[in-house]
Protein backbone atom coordinates (compact mmCIF):
# COMPACT_ATOMS: atom_id res chain seq x y z
CA UNK A 1 0.00 0.00 0.00
CA UNK A 2 1.34 3.42 -0.94
CA UNK A 3 1.70 6.51 1.17
CA UNK A 4 0.07 9.95 1.20
CA UNK A 5 2.12 13.15 1.18
CA UNK A 6 1.82 13.56 4.92
CA UNK A 7 2.72 9.94 5.66
CA UNK A 8 5.86 10.42 3.59
CA UNK A 9 6.87 13.63 5.31
CA UNK A 10 6.30 12.18 8.78
CA UNK A 11 8.15 8.97 7.88
CA UNK A 12 11.11 11.01 6.65
CA UNK A 13 11.19 13.10 9.84
CA UNK A 14 10.69 10.30 12.34
CA UNK A 15 13.15 7.89 10.78
CA UNK A 16 10.67 5.06 10.29
CA UNK A 17 7.82 4.26 7.97
CA UNK A 18 4.57 5.47 9.47
CA UNK A 19 0.91 5.14 8.53
CA UNK A 20 -2.20 7.07 9.49
CA UNK A 21 -3.04 6.42 13.14
CA UNK A 22 0.56 5.99 14.36
CA UNK A 23 1.86 8.35 17.02
CA UNK A 24 5.43 9.48 16.46
CA UNK A 25 7.99 11.96 17.74
CA UNK A 26 9.39 13.76 14.69
CA UNK A 27 12.16 16.29 14.05
CA UNK A 28 11.17 19.82 13.00
CA UNK A 29 12.59 21.92 10.16
CA UNK A 30 11.14 25.23 11.25
CA UNK A 31 9.25 26.72 14.19
CA UNK A 32 7.24 29.94 14.35
CA UNK A 33 5.54 31.82 17.15
CA UNK A 34 3.55 35.07 17.04
CA UNK A 35 2.81 37.72 19.64
CA UNK A 36 -0.46 36.15 20.78
CA UNK A 37 1.18 32.80 21.56
CA UNK A 38 4.90 33.37 22.11
CA UNK A 39 4.70 35.04 25.53
CA UNK A 40 2.97 31.97 26.97
CA UNK A 41 5.49 29.77 25.17
CA UNK A 42 8.35 31.70 26.74
CA UNK A 43 6.72 31.11 30.11
CA UNK A 44 6.40 27.39 29.30
CA UNK A 45 10.02 27.36 28.04
CA UNK A 46 11.08 28.54 31.48
CA UNK A 47 8.81 26.07 33.26
CA UNK A 48 10.47 23.34 31.20
CA UNK A 49 13.86 24.53 32.46
CA UNK A 50 14.78 25.43 28.88
CA UNK A 51 18.12 27.15 28.40
CA UNK A 52 19.24 27.22 24.78
CA UNK A 53 17.00 26.75 21.74
CA UNK A 54 17.70 23.66 19.62
CA UNK A 55 18.75 25.64 16.51
CA UNK A 56 18.40 29.40 16.33
CA UNK A 57 18.35 29.42 12.52
CA UNK A 58 15.22 27.29 12.40
CA UNK A 59 13.09 29.57 14.52
CA UNK A 60 11.31 32.86 13.95
CA UNK A 61 9.12 34.89 16.23
CA UNK A 62 6.76 37.42 14.68
CA UNK A 63 5.02 40.47 16.16
CA UNK A 64 1.99 40.80 13.93
CA UNK A 65 -1.25 40.35 15.86
CA UNK A 66 -1.21 43.61 17.82
CA UNK A 67 1.41 45.48 15.95
CA UNK A 68 2.39 48.22 16.76
CA UNK A 69 1.25 47.72 20.32
CA UNK A 70 -2.13 49.30 21.17
CA UNK A 71 -1.67 49.35 24.97
CA UNK A 72 0.78 48.84 27.81
CA UNK A 73 -0.29 45.23 28.48
CA UNK A 74 0.60 44.21 24.94
CA UNK A 75 3.80 46.29 25.07
CA UNK A 76 4.98 44.26 28.06
CA UNK A 77 4.38 41.01 26.15
CA UNK A 78 6.21 42.35 23.08
CA UNK A 79 9.12 43.33 25.27
CA UNK A 80 9.19 39.83 26.70
CA UNK A 81 9.56 38.49 23.13
CA UNK A 82 12.27 41.00 22.24
CA UNK A 83 14.23 40.08 25.35
CA UNK A 84 13.85 36.39 24.60
CA UNK A 85 15.10 36.59 20.99
CA UNK A 86 18.07 38.67 22.06
CA UNK A 87 19.14 36.22 24.71
CA UNK A 88 18.66 33.19 22.43
CA UNK A 89 19.93 34.66 19.16
CA UNK A 90 16.63 33.94 17.40
CA UNK A 91 15.28 36.08 14.55
CA UNK A 92 12.36 38.39 15.32
CA UNK A 93 10.11 39.92 12.70
CA UNK A 94 9.14 43.04 14.58
CA UNK A 95 6.32 45.50 13.87
CA UNK A 96 5.73 46.29 10.23
CA UNK A 97 7.37 43.18 8.78
CA UNK A 98 4.06 41.47 8.13
CA UNK A 99 1.80 38.55 9.03
CA UNK A 100 3.59 35.44 10.27
CA UNK A 101 2.11 33.31 7.47
CA UNK A 102 3.55 35.58 4.82
CA UNK A 103 6.95 36.31 6.34
CA UNK A 104 7.69 32.63 7.03
CA UNK A 105 7.24 31.55 3.39
CA UNK A 106 9.15 34.66 2.29
CA UNK A 107 12.05 33.60 4.54
CA UNK A 108 12.75 30.79 2.07
CA UNK A 109 13.23 28.35 4.93
CA UNK A 110 10.11 26.32 4.25
CA UNK A 111 9.58 24.31 1.09
CA UNK A 112 8.50 20.95 -0.28
CA UNK A 113 8.94 18.20 2.30
CA UNK A 114 9.51 20.53 5.26
CA UNK A 115 7.97 19.76 8.63
CA UNK A 116 6.92 22.96 10.37
CA UNK A 117 5.02 23.89 13.50
CA UNK A 118 3.75 27.34 14.29
CA UNK A 119 1.93 28.56 17.33
CA UNK A 120 -0.91 29.89 15.22
CA UNK A 121 -3.78 27.89 13.83
CA UNK A 122 -3.29 29.09 10.26
CA UNK A 123 0.20 27.62 10.06
CA UNK A 124 -1.40 25.13 7.66
CA UNK A 125 -0.87 27.89 5.04
CA UNK A 126 2.57 26.55 4.02
CA UNK A 127 0.91 23.35 2.78
CA UNK A 128 0.67 25.28 -0.49
CA UNK A 129 4.47 24.83 -0.66
CA UNK A 130 4.11 21.05 -0.35
CA UNK A 131 5.22 21.26 3.29
CA UNK A 132 3.52 19.70 6.28
CA UNK A 133 2.97 22.67 8.55
CA UNK A 134 0.51 22.75 11.36
CA UNK A 135 -0.73 24.97 14.15
CA UNK A 136 0.08 24.16 17.76
CA UNK A 137 -0.25 25.85 21.11
CA UNK A 138 2.33 27.57 23.24
CA UNK A 139 3.41 24.50 25.21
CA UNK A 140 4.11 22.51 22.04
CA UNK A 141 6.01 25.52 20.76
CA UNK A 142 8.13 25.61 23.90
CA UNK A 143 8.83 21.87 23.66
CA UNK A 144 9.84 22.39 20.03
CA UNK A 145 12.13 25.30 20.83
CA UNK A 146 14.01 23.16 23.33
CA UNK A 147 14.05 19.78 21.61
CA UNK A 148 13.46 20.49 17.90
CA UNK A 149 10.80 17.80 18.07
CA UNK A 150 7.10 17.30 18.56
CA UNK A 151 4.75 14.33 18.95
CA UNK A 152 2.32 13.83 16.09
CA UNK A 153 -0.56 11.56 15.40
CA UNK A 154 -0.25 10.69 11.72
CA UNK A 155 -3.54 11.86 10.23
CA UNK A 156 -5.66 10.29 7.56
CA UNK A 157 -5.96 12.30 4.38
CA UNK A 158 -9.06 13.71 2.76
CA UNK A 159 -8.39 14.44 -0.88
CA UNK A 160 -10.13 17.22 -2.79
CA UNK A 161 -9.89 16.87 -6.55
CA UNK A 162 -10.86 20.20 -8.11
CA UNK A 163 -11.52 19.89 -11.82
CA UNK A 164 -12.40 22.60 -14.31
CA UNK A 165 -11.51 26.24 -14.51
CA UNK A 166 -12.63 29.12 -12.29
CA UNK A 167 -14.57 31.75 -14.22
CA UNK A 168 -13.52 35.40 -14.41
CA UNK A 169 -14.43 37.11 -11.13
CA UNK A 170 -14.28 33.84 -9.20
CA UNK A 171 -11.15 33.17 -7.15
CA UNK A 172 -9.46 30.64 -4.94
CA UNK A 173 -11.16 32.23 -1.94
CA UNK A 174 -14.54 31.41 -3.43
CA UNK A 175 -13.41 27.86 -4.02
CA UNK A 176 -12.18 27.28 -0.47
CA UNK A 177 -15.29 28.91 1.02
CA UNK A 178 -17.38 26.62 -1.13
CA UNK A 179 -15.42 23.53 -0.02
CA UNK A 180 -15.74 24.49 3.66
CA UNK A 181 -19.48 25.08 3.26
CA UNK A 182 -19.71 21.73 1.56
CA UNK A 183 -17.87 19.61 4.10
CA UNK A 184 -18.57 21.86 7.18
CA UNK A 185 -16.46 23.34 9.95
CA UNK A 186 -15.48 19.96 11.38
CA UNK A 187 -15.66 17.88 8.20
CA UNK A 188 -11.92 17.26 8.18
CA UNK A 189 -11.11 17.28 11.90
CA UNK A 190 -7.84 15.46 12.73
CA UNK A 191 -7.25 14.93 9.00
CA UNK A 192 -4.89 16.29 6.41
CA UNK A 193 -6.53 17.88 3.39
CA UNK A 194 -4.80 17.29 0.05
CA UNK A 195 -5.91 19.63 -2.75
CA UNK A 196 -5.28 18.59 -6.30
CA UNK A 197 -6.69 18.84 -9.81
CA UNK A 198 -6.40 21.27 -12.69
CA UNK A 199 -8.20 24.08 -10.84
CA UNK A 200 -5.31 24.01 -8.34
CA UNK A 201 -2.50 23.69 -10.87
CA UNK A 202 -3.94 26.55 -12.92
CA UNK A 203 -3.84 29.15 -10.15
CA UNK A 204 -0.93 31.20 -8.85
CA UNK A 205 0.99 30.56 -5.65
CA UNK A 206 -0.70 33.60 -4.06
CA UNK A 207 -4.06 32.00 -4.80
CA UNK A 208 -2.92 28.60 -3.53
CA UNK A 209 -1.84 29.99 -0.16
CA UNK A 210 -5.43 31.19 0.36
CA UNK A 211 -6.72 27.66 -0.02
CA UNK A 212 -4.16 26.01 2.25
CA UNK A 213 -4.62 28.82 4.80
CA UNK A 214 -8.25 27.88 5.36
CA UNK A 215 -7.78 24.12 5.78
CA UNK A 216 -8.12 24.66 9.53
CA UNK A 217 -11.60 26.09 8.98
CA UNK A 218 -12.77 22.57 8.21
CA UNK A 219 -10.83 21.25 11.17
CA UNK A 220 -7.89 19.92 9.15
CA UNK A 221 -4.39 19.58 10.51
CA UNK A 222 -2.79 20.42 7.18
CA UNK A 223 -3.77 21.68 3.74
CA UNK A 224 -1.30 20.09 1.38
CA UNK A 225 -0.66 20.61 -2.30
CA UNK A 226 1.74 19.02 -4.74
CA UNK A 227 4.79 20.97 -5.81
CA UNK A 228 5.13 22.03 -9.44
CA UNK A 229 7.06 24.56 -11.46
CA UNK A 230 5.09 27.42 -9.94
CA UNK A 231 6.08 26.27 -6.45
CA UNK A 232 9.78 26.14 -7.31
CA UNK A 233 9.74 29.44 -9.21
CA UNK A 234 8.04 31.12 -6.29
CA UNK A 235 10.64 29.76 -3.86
CA UNK A 236 13.51 30.90 -6.09
CA UNK A 237 12.65 34.51 -5.28
CA UNK A 238 13.56 33.89 -1.67
CA UNK A 239 16.14 31.12 -1.48
CA UNK A 240 18.73 29.24 -3.45
CA UNK A 241 18.24 26.15 -1.35
CA UNK A 242 16.92 23.18 -3.25
CA UNK A 243 13.93 21.18 -2.09
CA UNK A 244 12.65 17.86 -3.31
CA UNK A 245 8.96 17.52 -3.98
CA UNK A 246 6.89 14.95 -2.12
CA UNK A 247 4.22 13.18 -4.11
CA UNK A 248 1.53 10.82 -2.92
CA UNK A 249 1.83 7.26 -4.24
CA UNK A 250 -0.82 6.36 -6.78
CA UNK A 251 -2.01 3.57 -4.50
CA UNK A 252 -2.02 5.71 -1.35
CA UNK A 253 -4.98 5.16 0.89
CA UNK A 254 -7.34 8.04 1.60
CA UNK A 255 -10.08 8.56 4.13
CA UNK A 256 -12.15 9.87 1.25
CA UNK A 257 -11.71 11.43 -2.18
CA UNK A 258 -14.10 14.24 -3.07
CA UNK A 259 -14.38 15.46 -6.66
CA UNK A 260 -15.62 18.89 -7.66
CA UNK A 261 -16.10 20.72 -10.92
CA UNK A 262 -15.40 24.39 -10.25
CA UNK A 263 -16.39 25.69 -13.70
CA UNK A 264 -19.82 26.95 -12.71
CA UNK A 265 -18.87 28.15 -9.23
CA UNK A 266 -20.01 31.68 -8.46
CA UNK A 267 -18.48 34.05 -5.89
CA UNK A 268 -19.21 32.87 -2.34
CA UNK A 269 -19.80 34.66 0.95
CA UNK A 270 -19.51 33.15 4.45
CA UNK A 271 -22.30 34.71 6.47
CA UNK A 272 -22.12 35.40 10.23
CA UNK A 273 -21.10 33.72 12.54
CA UNK A 274 -19.50 30.56 11.19
CA UNK A 275 -17.15 30.02 8.28
CA UNK A 276 -19.20 27.15 6.90
CA UNK A 277 -22.34 29.29 6.68
CA UNK A 278 -21.63 29.88 3.00
CA UNK A 279 -23.96 31.28 0.34
CA UNK A 280 -23.46 32.20 -3.30
CA UNK A 281 -23.15 35.98 -3.55
CA UNK A 282 -26.35 36.21 -5.60
CA UNK A 283 -28.36 35.06 -2.58
CA UNK A 284 -26.95 37.61 -0.17
CA UNK A 285 -26.17 40.64 -2.31
CA UNK A 286 -27.74 43.87 -1.14
CA UNK A 287 -26.79 43.42 2.53
CA UNK A 288 -25.48 46.84 3.65
CA UNK A 289 -21.79 47.07 4.57
CA UNK A 290 -20.21 49.45 7.11
CA UNK A 291 -16.63 48.26 6.96
CA UNK A 292 -14.64 46.41 4.31
CA UNK A 293 -11.30 44.77 5.08
CA UNK A 294 -8.72 43.72 2.51
CA UNK A 295 -5.75 41.87 3.94
CA UNK A 296 -4.82 39.15 6.49
CA UNK A 297 -2.86 35.95 6.01
CA UNK A 298 -5.69 34.71 3.79
CA UNK A 299 -5.86 37.47 1.21
CA UNK A 300 -3.33 40.24 1.80
CA UNK A 301 -0.95 39.22 -0.97
CA UNK A 302 0.06 41.21 -4.02
CA UNK A 303 -2.37 39.45 -6.32
CA UNK A 304 -5.20 40.21 -3.87
CA UNK A 305 -4.34 43.91 -3.73
CA UNK A 306 -4.15 44.00 -7.53
CA UNK A 307 -7.55 42.34 -7.92
CA UNK A 308 -9.14 44.87 -5.57
CA UNK A 309 -7.36 47.77 -7.27
CA UNK A 310 -8.52 46.63 -10.69
CA UNK A 311 -12.10 47.11 -9.48
CA UNK A 312 -11.53 50.30 -7.50
CA UNK A 313 -9.19 52.15 -9.81
CA UNK A 314 -10.55 55.58 -10.68
CA UNK A 315 -13.59 55.06 -8.44
CA UNK A 316 -14.45 55.96 -4.85
CA UNK A 317 -15.67 53.59 -2.19
CA UNK A 318 -19.12 54.33 -0.80
CA UNK A 319 -18.89 57.19 1.74
CA UNK A 320 -20.65 55.03 4.35
CA UNK A 321 -17.97 52.33 4.15
CA UNK A 322 -14.66 52.35 6.01
CA UNK A 323 -12.22 50.54 3.76
CA UNK A 324 -9.18 49.14 5.59
CA UNK A 325 -6.23 47.61 3.76
CA UNK A 326 -3.45 45.63 5.46
CA UNK A 327 -0.75 44.31 3.13
CA UNK A 328 0.43 40.89 4.33
CA UNK A 329 4.10 41.85 4.41
CA UNK A 330 6.49 44.75 4.00
CA UNK A 331 7.72 43.13 0.83
CA UNK A 332 4.20 43.16 -0.60
CA UNK A 333 3.60 46.68 0.68
CA UNK A 334 6.68 47.93 -1.16
CA UNK A 335 5.83 46.16 -4.39
CA UNK A 336 2.25 47.43 -4.28
CA UNK A 337 3.61 50.90 -3.69
CA UNK A 338 6.16 50.78 -6.47
CA UNK A 339 3.75 49.52 -9.09
CA UNK A 340 1.00 52.00 -8.13
CA UNK A 341 -1.52 49.49 -6.80
CA UNK A 342 -1.44 51.02 -3.36
CA UNK A 343 -1.98 54.48 -4.75
CA UNK A 344 -5.05 53.31 -6.62
CA UNK A 345 -6.45 51.79 -3.44
CA UNK A 346 -5.72 54.88 -1.37
CA UNK A 347 -7.22 57.18 -3.97
CA UNK A 348 -10.33 55.02 -3.92
CA UNK A 349 -10.60 55.61 -0.17
CA UNK A 350 -8.48 52.94 1.52
CA UNK A 351 -7.02 53.47 4.97
CA UNK A 352 -3.79 51.47 4.80
CA UNK A 353 -2.57 50.02 8.11
CA UNK A 354 0.72 48.43 9.15
CA UNK A 355 1.53 45.11 7.43
CA UNK A 356 0.38 42.46 9.87
CA UNK A 357 -2.94 41.04 11.02
CA UNK A 358 -4.73 44.38 10.79
CA UNK A 359 -8.23 44.32 12.28
CA UNK A 360 -8.61 40.53 11.79
CA UNK A 361 -8.54 39.47 15.41
CA UNK A 362 -10.04 42.49 17.12
CA UNK A 363 -7.05 43.89 18.95
CA UNK A 364 -6.80 47.16 17.03
CA UNK A 365 -6.99 48.78 13.60
CA UNK A 366 -10.75 48.90 13.11
CA UNK A 367 -13.09 47.36 15.66
CA UNK A 368 -16.65 47.55 14.30
CA UNK A 369 -19.54 49.06 16.27
CA UNK A 370 -22.66 47.29 17.54
CA UNK A 371 -24.90 45.96 14.82
CA UNK A 372 -22.47 46.84 12.02
CA UNK A 373 -21.79 44.64 9.03
CA UNK A 374 -18.23 43.93 7.99
CA UNK A 375 -17.11 42.25 4.80
CA UNK A 376 -13.59 40.94 5.04
CA UNK A 377 -11.09 38.84 3.13
CA UNK A 378 -10.08 37.13 6.38
CA UNK A 379 -10.66 33.51 7.30
CA UNK A 380 -12.87 33.75 10.40
CA UNK A 381 -16.19 35.41 11.12
CA UNK A 382 -16.86 34.14 14.62
CA UNK A 383 -18.95 36.33 16.86
CA UNK A 384 -16.63 38.79 18.57
CA UNK A 385 -13.73 37.95 16.28
CA UNK A 386 -13.05 41.55 15.33
CA UNK A 387 -13.43 42.78 18.90
CA UNK A 388 -17.19 43.30 19.07
CA UNK A 389 -19.57 40.41 19.58
CA UNK A 390 -22.48 42.55 18.37
CA UNK A 391 -21.01 43.02 14.89
CA UNK A 392 -21.62 40.80 11.86
CA UNK A 393 -18.66 39.56 9.85
CA UNK A 394 -18.94 38.29 6.28
CA UNK A 395 -16.05 36.63 4.47
CA UNK A 396 -15.40 36.89 0.76
CA UNK A 397 -12.76 37.27 -1.94
CA UNK A 398 -10.80 40.49 -2.46
CA UNK A 399 -12.93 41.17 -5.55
CA UNK A 400 -16.22 40.78 -3.67
CA UNK A 401 -14.89 42.92 -0.81
CA UNK A 402 -13.79 45.65 -3.24
CA UNK A 403 -17.08 45.62 -5.15
CA UNK A 404 -19.04 45.69 -1.88
CA UNK A 405 -16.97 48.60 -0.57
CA UNK A 406 -17.72 50.48 -3.76
CA UNK A 407 -21.46 49.93 -3.69
CA UNK A 408 -21.92 49.97 0.10
CA UNK A 409 -23.72 46.63 -0.10
CA UNK A 410 -22.62 43.06 -0.66
CA UNK A 411 -22.13 42.96 -4.41
CA UNK A 412 -21.23 40.40 -7.05
CA UNK A 413 -17.81 41.54 -8.33
CA UNK A 414 -18.51 40.21 -11.80
CA UNK A 415 -20.54 43.38 -12.39
CA UNK A 416 -17.19 45.20 -12.46
CA UNK A 417 -15.14 42.68 -14.34
CA UNK A 418 -15.22 42.73 -18.10
Amino acid sequence: MGLTIIEKILSEHSGKQVKAGDIVVAGLDFIMGQDGTSPLAIKAFEEMNGEAVFDKDKIALVIDHSSPSPNDGVSALHKMMRDFVKSKGVHLYDIGEGVCHQVVPESGKVGPGSLVIGADSHTCTYGALNAFSTGVGSTDLAGGLISGQMWFKVPETLKFVCNGQLQAGVYSKDLILYLIGNITADGATYMAAEYTGEAISNISMDARFTISNMAIEMGAKAGLMEADEKTFNWLKQFTSESFEKVEADTDASYYNIKEYDVSSLEPQVAMPHTVDNVSPVSQVSGTPVNQAVLGTCTNGRLEDLRIAASILKGRKVNPDVRFIVAPASKNIYLQAMQEGTLQELIEAGAAVVTPGCGPCVGTHNGVPSNGENVISTANRNFKGRMGNSSAYIHLASPATVAASALVGKITDPREFIK
Binding site: I23, G73, D140, A142, G143, S147, G384
Partner: protein
Amino acid sequence: MKLEGNTHKFGKDVNTDYIISGKYKFKTLDMRELAKHVMEDLDTDFYNKITAGDFIVGESNFGCGSSREQAPLAIKYANIGAVIAKSFARIFYRNAINTGLPVVECDTDNIDAGDILKVDLETGSILNKTKNETIQAKPLPDVMIKILKDGGLAPHFRKHGGFNL
Protein backbone atom coordinates in the same frame (compact mmCIF):
# COMPACT_ATOMS: atom_id res chain seq x y z
CA MET B 1 -8.18 10.09 38.90
CA LYS B 2 -11.89 10.58 39.57
CA LEU B 3 -13.80 13.83 39.16
CA GLU B 4 -17.26 14.80 40.24
CA GLY B 5 -19.27 17.91 39.49
CA ASN B 6 -22.18 19.71 37.98
CA THR B 7 -22.79 20.11 34.23
CA HIS B 8 -22.75 23.34 32.23
CA LYS B 9 -24.02 22.52 28.78
CA PHE B 10 -22.98 24.24 25.55
CA GLY B 11 -23.75 23.55 21.90
CA LYS B 12 -21.63 22.52 18.94
CA ASP B 13 -18.67 24.40 17.42
CA VAL B 14 -17.80 26.28 20.62
CA ASN B 15 -14.80 28.15 19.26
CA THR B 16 -11.77 29.59 21.01
CA ASP B 17 -13.04 33.14 20.47
CA TYR B 18 -16.07 32.22 22.59
CA ILE B 19 -13.96 30.48 25.21
CA ILE B 20 -11.75 33.52 25.58
CA SER B 21 -12.14 36.53 23.34
CA GLY B 22 -9.06 37.78 21.47
CA LYS B 23 -9.53 41.19 23.01
CA TYR B 24 -8.50 39.79 26.41
CA LYS B 25 -5.97 37.20 25.43
CA PHE B 26 -3.50 39.66 24.00
CA LYS B 27 -3.44 41.78 27.12
CA THR B 28 -2.10 39.58 29.85
CA LEU B 29 -0.55 36.31 30.91
CA ASP B 30 -2.54 36.35 34.13
CA MET B 31 -4.74 33.29 33.64
CA ARG B 32 -6.83 34.03 36.73
CA GLU B 33 -7.79 37.34 35.17
CA LEU B 34 -8.54 35.72 31.79
CA ALA B 35 -10.61 33.04 33.50
CA LYS B 36 -13.13 35.67 34.61
CA HIS B 37 -14.07 36.17 30.96
CA VAL B 38 -14.37 32.52 30.03
CA MET B 39 -17.34 31.85 27.69
CA GLU B 40 -18.39 35.46 28.15
CA ASP B 41 -19.76 35.92 24.62
CA LEU B 42 -22.05 32.90 25.06
CA ASP B 43 -23.07 33.51 28.67
CA THR B 44 -22.12 36.89 30.14
CA ASP B 45 -22.16 35.73 33.74
CA PHE B 46 -20.70 32.26 33.21
CA TYR B 47 -17.64 32.63 35.44
CA ASN B 48 -19.80 33.37 38.47
CA LYS B 49 -21.90 30.27 37.90
CA ILE B 50 -18.97 27.87 38.26
CA THR B 51 -18.36 25.79 41.36
CA ALA B 52 -14.89 24.24 41.48
CA GLY B 53 -14.86 20.87 39.76
CA ASP B 54 -17.84 21.53 37.47
CA PHE B 55 -17.79 20.21 33.92
CA ILE B 56 -18.22 21.99 30.65
CA VAL B 57 -20.13 19.67 28.35
CA GLY B 58 -20.23 20.45 24.65
CA GLU B 59 -21.38 18.78 21.48
CA SER B 60 -19.19 18.31 18.41
CA ASN B 61 -16.06 20.26 17.41
CA PHE B 62 -15.43 21.82 20.81
CA GLY B 63 -12.57 24.34 20.83
CA CYS B 64 -12.40 24.99 17.10
CA GLY B 65 -10.64 28.10 15.87
CA SER B 66 -7.39 29.51 17.06
CA SER B 67 -4.38 27.83 18.61
CA ARG B 68 -4.56 30.02 21.68
CA GLU B 69 -3.59 28.00 24.69
CA GLN B 70 -5.32 30.66 26.72
CA ALA B 71 -8.53 28.78 25.82
CA PRO B 72 -7.87 25.57 27.80
CA LEU B 73 -5.98 27.57 30.42
CA ALA B 74 -8.87 29.99 30.97
CA ILE B 75 -11.15 26.98 31.45
CA LYS B 76 -8.69 25.32 33.80
CA TYR B 77 -8.18 28.47 35.86
CA ALA B 78 -11.95 28.97 36.04
CA ASN B 79 -11.81 25.74 38.10
CA ILE B 80 -13.54 23.53 35.55
CA GLY B 81 -12.63 19.90 36.24
CA ALA B 82 -12.82 18.62 32.67
CA VAL B 83 -14.36 19.32 29.30
CA ILE B 84 -16.57 16.58 27.92
CA ALA B 85 -17.66 16.73 24.28
CA LYS B 86 -18.66 14.58 21.35
CA SER B 87 -15.54 15.67 19.51
CA PHE B 88 -12.83 18.27 19.89
CA ALA B 89 -10.95 20.45 17.46
CA ARG B 90 -7.45 19.07 17.11
CA ILE B 91 -5.37 21.95 18.45
CA PHE B 92 -7.61 22.53 21.44
CA TYR B 93 -7.41 18.84 22.31
CA ARG B 94 -3.59 18.86 22.12
CA ASN B 95 -3.37 22.07 24.12
CA ALA B 96 -5.68 20.75 26.81
CA ILE B 97 -3.53 17.63 27.27
CA ASN B 98 -0.32 19.67 27.16
CA THR B 99 -1.58 22.06 29.84
CA GLY B 100 -3.10 19.32 32.00
CA LEU B 101 -6.82 20.02 31.43
CA PRO B 102 -8.63 16.67 31.14
CA VAL B 103 -10.71 16.25 27.98
CA VAL B 104 -13.14 13.41 27.50
CA GLU B 105 -14.68 12.40 24.19
CA CYS B 106 -18.06 10.67 24.30
CA ASP B 107 -21.71 10.96 23.30
CA THR B 108 -23.09 13.93 25.23
CA ASP B 109 -26.64 13.98 23.82
CA ASN B 110 -28.13 12.65 27.02
CA ILE B 111 -26.23 14.92 29.39
CA ASP B 112 -28.18 18.02 30.39
CA ALA B 113 -27.34 21.20 32.25
CA GLY B 114 -27.40 20.52 35.98
CA ASP B 115 -26.66 16.79 35.75
CA ILE B 116 -24.16 15.57 38.32
CA LEU B 117 -21.44 13.50 36.69
CA LYS B 118 -18.74 11.26 38.06
CA VAL B 119 -15.87 10.80 35.62
CA ASP B 120 -13.13 8.21 35.84
CA LEU B 121 -10.35 9.48 33.59
CA GLU B 122 -8.37 6.23 33.57
CA THR B 123 -11.20 3.99 32.43
CA GLY B 124 -13.18 6.60 30.49
CA SER B 125 -16.33 5.67 32.35
CA ILE B 126 -18.79 8.46 33.09
CA LEU B 127 -21.59 8.00 35.59
CA ASN B 128 -24.49 10.42 35.24
CA LYS B 129 -25.72 10.35 38.83
CA THR B 130 -28.76 12.47 38.09
CA LYS B 131 -29.98 10.10 35.39
CA ASN B 132 -28.34 6.98 36.81
CA GLU B 133 -26.71 6.16 33.46
CA THR B 134 -23.21 5.17 32.51
CA ILE B 135 -21.53 6.44 29.35
CA GLN B 136 -18.32 4.93 28.03
CA ALA B 137 -15.82 7.45 26.61
CA LYS B 138 -13.04 6.75 24.09
CA PRO B 139 -9.91 5.77 26.01
CA LEU B 140 -6.99 8.19 25.69
CA PRO B 141 -3.90 7.00 23.76
CA ASP B 142 -0.92 6.05 25.95
CA VAL B 143 1.15 9.02 24.88
CA MET B 144 -1.48 11.42 26.20
CA ILE B 145 -1.95 9.52 29.44
CA LYS B 146 1.78 9.78 30.05
CA ILE B 147 1.69 13.56 29.52
CA LEU B 148 -1.42 14.00 31.69
CA LYS B 149 0.07 11.84 34.44
CA ASP B 150 3.13 14.08 34.53
CA GLY B 151 0.75 17.05 34.87
CA GLY B 152 1.23 18.39 31.33
CA LEU B 153 4.09 18.77 28.87
CA ALA B 154 6.06 21.31 30.90
CA PRO B 155 6.37 19.06 33.96
CA HIS B 156 7.05 16.16 31.56
CA PHE B 157 10.02 18.06 30.12
CA ARG B 158 11.21 19.07 33.59
CA LYS B 159 11.13 15.47 34.67
CA HIS B 160 12.68 13.87 31.59
CA GLY B 161 14.63 16.74 30.00
CA GLY B 162 12.73 16.24 26.72
CA PHE B 163 10.25 13.84 25.17
CA ASN B 164 10.03 10.47 26.84
CA LEU B 165 6.93 8.96 25.27
